[in-house]
């Protein structure tokens, strides 16, 4: 790749990202698999960046997984989204900060639909009013939570305790970034850097000292495929697509994969274990996998948060090799602790992947 590209071609996609006062909508998958990431995000927003972000008890799932697996009608999801907007409006906010990439895509798609088909917006208003008595305003700004971290990546860099550099060699760590499909593939102008060379994560990685790997299957889907994962018989689709990515990135020896979508993070983590079981194949060095991290986890590590407070113990692929390269100190015995510091027995470590 030439120098010209590394500086980024973001100029043609000038995405606006609100600077403060966000209404936070959580992600089903992130809460389930990486709850520490959402905790870290709010902590960074409030404690490091001094932002006002509202965490509402009454919002629900956007039903996006149900919608994309076709058991939730378009009209229904429009109205559920309208309800989230109504809650935001009622709390006095105009800027939506979205934790989930599927949801982010849903919000963008629905707002775009309402622009092109105003009768759909009218219907959503009527439906919401009838069902809940609520009214709503369309957010002034919709940002994925990774957009916000991107926006403040320099401020985070200033507070950084660690840099994404191999502490032994001084070389930048090689990081693969994987962008969730629904972040920019549907609406390239809604993503930082567009759909083809999305720079929301690569800009963070570079400014925090790491190097971004450009590998052939960079843009390929992780393979979630909604119904293709939800049904056991279809999971071959899901794993095969992830495998295609790993095969493609392997020659570049990435130190970790960073994702902005919680689903991608989880699948690219778990499928490495299943591939190891099925094919006795691992993609990291020394029989290990390649750690797959959320961008919140990455930001948290850079800021010096404890890896086990971030929730790295919830990953199937162990992240210790990555932490060691970063020179991050951690207490191994704390990895599997429960609430109030209680030490628990850890998970079974599979023989196929260390």
């Amino acid at each position: 790749m030439t120098e010209a590209h590394q500086s980024g071609i973001t100029g043609i996609y000038p995405k606006e990202i609100a600077a403060d006062n966000y209404y936070y909508v959580r992600s089903c998958i992130r809460q389930n698999f990486f709850p520490g990431s959402e905790t870290a995000f709010l902590k960074i927003m409030r404690n490091v960046l001094g932002k006002n972000i509202y965490d509402d008890a009454v919002h629900t799932t956007c039903t996006g997984i149900g919608y994309h697996s076709d058991i939730v009608p378009f009209e229904t999801i429009q109205t559920v989204v309208a309800r989230q907007f109504a809650l935001m409006t009622e709390k006095g906010f105009e800027n939506l900060a979205v934790s989930c990439v599927t949801s982010f895509g849903i919000y963008c798609e629905i707002v775009e639909t309402w622009k092109n088909f105003p009768e759909e917006l009218d219907k959503a208003r009527v439906n919401l009013k009838k069902a809940t008595g609520r009214e709503f305003e369309i957010p002034r700004n919709i940002a994925h939570a990774s957009d916000i971290i991107y926006k403040f990546r320099r401020e985070i860099a200033k507070e950084a305790k660690y840099s994404l550099v191999n502490c032994l060699t001084g070389e930048p760590l090689n990081l693969v970034e994987h962008i969730g499909c629904h972040y920019a593939k549907m609406f390239p102008e809604m993503g930082v850097g567009g759909a083809e060379f999305t720079s929301v994560l690569s800009s963070m990685i570079e400014i925090w000292g790491g190097a971004v790997v450009d590998y052939p299957e960079r843009r390929h889907c992780c393979g979630f495929g909604f119904r293709q994962y939800l049904i056991q018989a279809n999971r071959g689709y899901s794993i095969s697509n992830s495998r295609k990515k790993f095969e493609s990135m392997e020659p570049y020896h990435p130190d970790a994969v960073i994702c902005n979508c919680p689903g991608c993070t989880m699948f690219m983590d778990r499928w490495q274990y299943v591939i190891a079981e099925m094919e006795n194949k691992t993609y990291g060095q020394g029989g290990r996998g390649i750690p797959v991290l959320t961008y919140e986890e990455l930001a948290g590590l850079v800021l010096g948060y404890d890896p086990w407070d971030l929730g790295l113990q919830m990953h199937q692929v162990n992240s210790e090799p990555f932490l060691d390269k970063l020179g991050i100190r951690y207490i191994p015995s704390q990895k599997y602790s429960g609430k109030d510091g209680k030490i628990m027995a850890g998970p079974v470590i599979p023989a196929c992947i260390k």
Partner: protein, 234 residues
């Protein structure tokens, strides 16, 4: 029934189908086309033919169920078509008309309604830790077995408000919020769709000699959830 007209009632169909020039740019990078006998370009041209018989057999076929909704096709199509969106509408109509039970992949909708559908209405989440049973999800690995077993400890340690009222990750969604969600489903056809999926599925199950009881444990659920070959289904 004029199926093309029926499809065209949905704004997403009108948004997704402009005019295909058969360039194949969608198929080239389609994750489903790589691993399934599937070609989004061919699907679009079939729909575009407006041939009622062709569309009917499409609605009864596996072909509409292979797409993984990644929407990579939308980024690239030089004519602004969105095969992934057309697929959504085909699936909707296939379910409304009960055609989905005619194909192996279509029948799987029963299992999705039983899992994700129930999660949404009972918990307010599409997925919930208590519903990801390691037995049904061996691919989640030993780490998930550990999380599943110790979930209260682990989630609490990571700052979640697990299964409790108030804000926070994995908070218990209040009765009022769940009631609003249900009211929205009732008002907008969401409940109706879930009912249709169940009715058509159970009809097919009974015709084929299954004895489903409407849970994720029943024989029909296991058949459609686990099997790649539905030789037992008529």
């Amino acid at each position: 029934m004029d199926l093309f007209k029926r499809l065209n009632e949905d704004v997403r169909f009108r948004e997704g189908l402009k005019a295909c020039m058969n360039c194949g740019i969608c198929t080239a990078i389609c994750p489903a086309a790589e691993f399934y006998d599937y070609d989004p370009r061919v699907l679009v041209t079939t729909v575009e033919s407006m041939d009622n018989e062709e569309i009917e057999s499409l609605l009864k076929s596996d072909a509409i169920w292979y797409c993984g909704q990644c929407m990579s096709c939308k980024t690239r199509c030089p004519r602004g078509n969105v095969p992934g969106m057309i697929v959504s509408v085909l699936r909707k109509v296939s379910q409304e008309l009960g055609y989905f039970t005619e194909s192996r992949m279509g029948r799987q909708q029963y299992a999705i309604a039983k899992t994700v559908g129930d999660n949404i209405l009972s918990y307010g989440y599409c997925v919930h830790p208590s519903k990801i049973n390691p037995g049904l999800h061996p691919e989640q690995g030993p780490v998930w077995e550990w999380i599943f077993k110790n979930r209260e400890d682990i989630y609490t340690r990571l700052g979640a408000n697990f299964d409790k009222p108030g804000a926070g990750a994995l908070r218990k969604i209040s009765r009022e919020a769940l009631d609003e969600l249900k009211a929205i489903f009732d008002e907008t056809g969401g409940t109706e769709l879930l009912k249709k999926i169940e009715e058509f599925s159970l009809k097919k199950a009974h015709e084929s000699g299954f004895e489903p009881n409407g849970t994720t444990e029943d024989d029909y659920f296991r058949e459609v959830y686990k099997k790649n070959d539905h030789s037992g289904i008529k």
